[in-house]
């Protein structure tokens, strides 16, 4: 009796494994192998100059050394984080506000669906098209400059892309525009999951909207908020398309000899231009570790690990 039951379980298990195969195959081919070979080649001298192929020759930690001793890593990491923060801070604030409005039962906004679509729309535009649009708008002889000149705000043309703060702000602003809709939808989903009876109870107790938001919505929203922060941080570290297109891949302006809008992934991309798999691999591994650490920090600070017990 018990024997036949056991074999049935085994049979069911087998189906489980079979159903897992498609995922595993795709995962191994497209994620695991690239991941392992990235790490593998990061220990090799392996690049091409023109038609001359160098390597792969085993050089141990030389690639890591050249990355850490080079003058590029720190400033580019700083650039990436600054541009991420410029975009992320307004993004999370606006999204929280919009999310709270959309999910407020008493506010009952009209045309909610319409607004949701509209705020999500910028995300549907290709980043490259969006970047080209902004490049044209803010170019030295472009419409924004003409507008500011004609309205008397500026005395002479302002070269946005020769000014580090302006270029970074434009990148941050574009990322904000592209992603706040997405964040709003995520936060709204979280807010709608909050038990309305809690809100009603608070109202009966005489809580105002601000108290409801800070004492009920925000604490209960924490898991989804953490998810948003982690994914946005990872997205931020991988920031590439917008600054790449906006500065034509140059990471300009250069201030004090350092590119001020060059992100880590743009640097990675520069290395791949010479097919430098060794150094680019080392950089990828470094980014991988950093992202892991950052995620763990957020995870710990938020107290999720304790709750899991």
């Amino acid at each position: 009796m018990s024997k036949s039951k056991n074999s049935k379980v085994v049979r069911y298990n087998r189906w489980g494994y079979i159903f897992l195969i498609p995922f595993l195959v795709v995962y191994v081919i497209f994620q695991l192998i690239p991941l392992v070979s990235t790490i593998y080649y990061s220990f090799y001298e392996y690049y091409r100059v023109g038609l001359m192929q160098v390597g792969p020759n085993w050089i141990g930690l030389e690639n890591y050394k050249s990355i850490f001793q080079g003058s590029e890593l720190l400033p580019y990491f700083k650039n990436t984080m600054i541009m991420w923060l410029i975009g992320f801070i307004p993004q999370i604030l606006v999204s929280l506000l919009l999310g709270a409005w959309f999910s407020d039962n008493r506010l009952k906004l009209k045309c909610e669906g319409f607004f949701k679509v509209v705020i999500y729309l910028p995300n549907l535009i290709m980043a490259s098209a969006f970047a080209m649009l902004f490049f044209t708008l803010f170019s030295d002889l472009g419409p924004i400059n003409s507008l500011l000149l004609n309205s008397g705000i500026l005395k002479e043309r302002f070269s946005f892309f020769s000014n580090a703060a302006a270029t970074r702000s434009i990148v941050g602003f574009m990322n904000f525009l592209m992603w706040f809709g997405n964040t709003t939808i995520l936060l709204m989903a979280g807010m709608m999951g909050i038990d309305t009876s809690l809100m009603e109870a608070a109202e009966v107790d005489g809580a105002n909207s601000r108290q409801k938001f800070f004492k009920i919505t925000l604490p209960l929203l924490r898991p989804i908020l953490i998810y948003v922060i982690i994914t946005s941080l990872i997205g931020g570290i991988q920031m590439f398309d917008v600054p790449q297109i906006l500065t034509s891949g140059s990471g300009s302006p250069i201030v004090k000899g350092v590119k001020t809008s060059e992100t880590l992934i743009m640097f990675l991309n520069d290395n791949l231009f010479s097919k430098n798999y060794g150094k680019a691999g080392a950089l990828s591994v470094f980014l991988f570790v950093i992202t892991g650490i950052l995620s763990l920090i957020v995870f710990k600070v938020s107290g999720n690990d304790k709750k899991a017990k």
Binding site: G50, Q53, M132
Partner: protein
């Protein structure tokens, strides 16, 4: 505790999955590149006995190039060529990329256009060439175009076929300018490509502006004002800028003039140390002076939208520098309202002679369209009739000495519409005297581009010269990992 460990593992897995996107990007090339990883870091050297293969009978002629110039020339001047489907597109800098088709004597011609910027053209071409052996006959690169800046990189390999292997004789090319052959001659003395144009360069000035500033647009008088660099700077600041004009669109406009007159290569004799020639430094100093005096319109990149605005009178740019192809191909001469459209440019020799660019046609080892390529080379670059037609129709300076000398004569009836009826050919011919290509290296394009980019921040005052120079070294060593910054 178990759960905690599990959650950490899960988080890491999530991060890993999210990051796999960029890991993938890093590596899909890596696995393909692995196939030819056996090389020992030496460029394939050309043995004099190397057997090139170039056969006939291919149905598809694949052409790699970086802009539409040659395509347009073929459409206009190549007998037997008809244009077909075109799916190219233009980006914000006006760079065209994509593919197009045509037919040439019953063979399908496939154009593969990748812009030069950031080495993209060469990288794309290199990838294709490295796969050449294994590619199907119809996918093999049959013909590609190259510029003087990096011709050596390809000429000194077995990828490019000597023209005599195609059946082109010295008699066919006897009328061509010697320098156009020197550029593409390999270590064994084989000529590996042909060009249909010569690129001695001159200074183009805005005639209307000249009348306003100097009271005349007579080329001889204007030349006197810009005869050497000291006079050039003085006139630019004291006269041109004082009248509200800008001497040029960007300091990068004069870069070529200086970089053509250097006395050393970008890479020192040891083959790995980057070397900035004193004359390049001279360009930096002279340009900085002009920028600080407000005599230059901006510090933008060449070819960009802002740079090109000077082709129109409203931007008040006084001059551009370049060879014949600049006038016809780049200066918006066919757009109504542009200076060129109204024949508003004049040509003078300018402060110093130089040459710029030039495009060479070369056949690739393993091609199966040898006779078509031979015919294209003969028709486009060796025929005196085509040369004259190119001058007449598109103001080209064609690669045919007798034909150009004939057309340069006043009674030849040729005059350039864009240049307001001037015949610039004698100036070009004079510019070819003493033209030498001595200090070319395989790294020129990458270095020129990176240097101009880096110096922009010095001109704008955001970096000191040394800081900007450091940025240049960083970019170049990233582009060419085998090079190193001087100690």
């Amino acid at each position: 505790m178990k759960k905690r460990a599990l959650s950490i593992v899960l988080t890491t897995a999530m991060v890993a999955a999210l990051f796999a996107g960029c890991g993938k990007e890093t590596n899909d090339g890596g696995t393909t590149g692995g196939g030819n990883g056996g090389g020992n870091g030496t460029q394939p050297t050309v043995s004099p006995d190397f057997e090139y293969t170039a056969t006939d009978g291919g149905k598809v002629l694949n052409i790699y190039c970086w802009n539409t110039e040659f395509k347009e020339r073929c459409e206009k001047f190549l007998p037997g060529y008809t244009a077909g489907a075109d799916s190219t597109s233009k980006d914000k800098n006006g760079d065209v990329s994509g593919t197009a088709e045509g037919t040439y004597n019953g063979v399908t011609v496939k154009w593969n256009i990748t812009p030069s910027k950031e080495n993209a053209y060469q990288n794309n071409l290199d990838n294709a060439l490295l796969k050449q052996k294994d590619a199907a006959a119809d996918d093999k690169v049959d013909l590609f175009l190259m510029e003087a800046d990096y011709a050596l990189k390809y000429v000194d390999t077995t990828y490019t076929v000597p023209i005599d292997k195609l059946g082109i004789t010295d008699a066919d090319t006897k009328d061509q300018f010697q320098y156009t052959k020197d550029v593409v001659t390999d270590a064994n003395g084989n000529i590996k490509g042909l060009s249909w144009q010569g690129c001695p360069s001159i200074m183009f000035y805005n005639r209307e502006a000249a009348k306003e500033i100097f009271g005349t647009d007579d080329p001889a008088t204007i030349q006197e004002k810009f005869k050497d660099w000291a006079t050039f700077k003085k006139t630019a600041i004291d006269e041109v800028a004082a009248k509200g004009y800008k001497i040029m669109s960007s300091p990068n406009d004069t870069f070529r003039i200086y970089s053509n007159n250097v006395s050393s290569k970008w890479v020192a004799d040891d083959g790995v140390t980057i070397n900035v020639d004193p004359y390049i430094k001279q360009w930096v100093d002279d340009s900085k002076e002009l920028v600080d005096a407000g005599a230059v319109a901006g510090t933008w990149d060449l070819w960009g939208e802002d740079w090109s605005k000077g082709f129109f009178p409203e931007a008040k740019v006084f001059a551009y520098f370049g060879p014949a192809w600049l006038v016809n191909f780049s200066m918006s001469a066919d757009t109504e309202g542009s200076i060129g459209y109204d024949g508003g440019w004049g040509g003078i020799t300018g402060p110093q002679g130089f040459f710029w660019g030039g495009t060479w046609i070369t056949a690739v080892d393993g091609t199966d369209n040898a006779s078509e390529i031979k015919q294209i080379m003969l028709d486009m670059s060796c025929s005196a009739d085509t040369a004259k037609k190119m001058v007449q129709d598109v103001d080209e300076f064609a690669n045919n000495k007798p034909a150009m000398e004939e057309m340069a004569k006043e009674d030849s009836g040729y005059s350039s519409k864009v240049l307001g009826g001037q015949n610039p050919l004698q100036m070009y011919l004079d510019g070819l005297n003493g033209l030498e290509i001595k200090y070319a290296s395989a790294y020129d394009q990458g270095c020129n581009e990176a240097f101009q980019n880096a110096m922009k921040s010095y001109f704008e005052g955001a970096s000191t010269y040394d800081e900007a120079l450091d940025a240049f070294y960083t970019t170049v060593t990233t582009k060419y990992p085998n090079l190193k910054k001087p100690a």
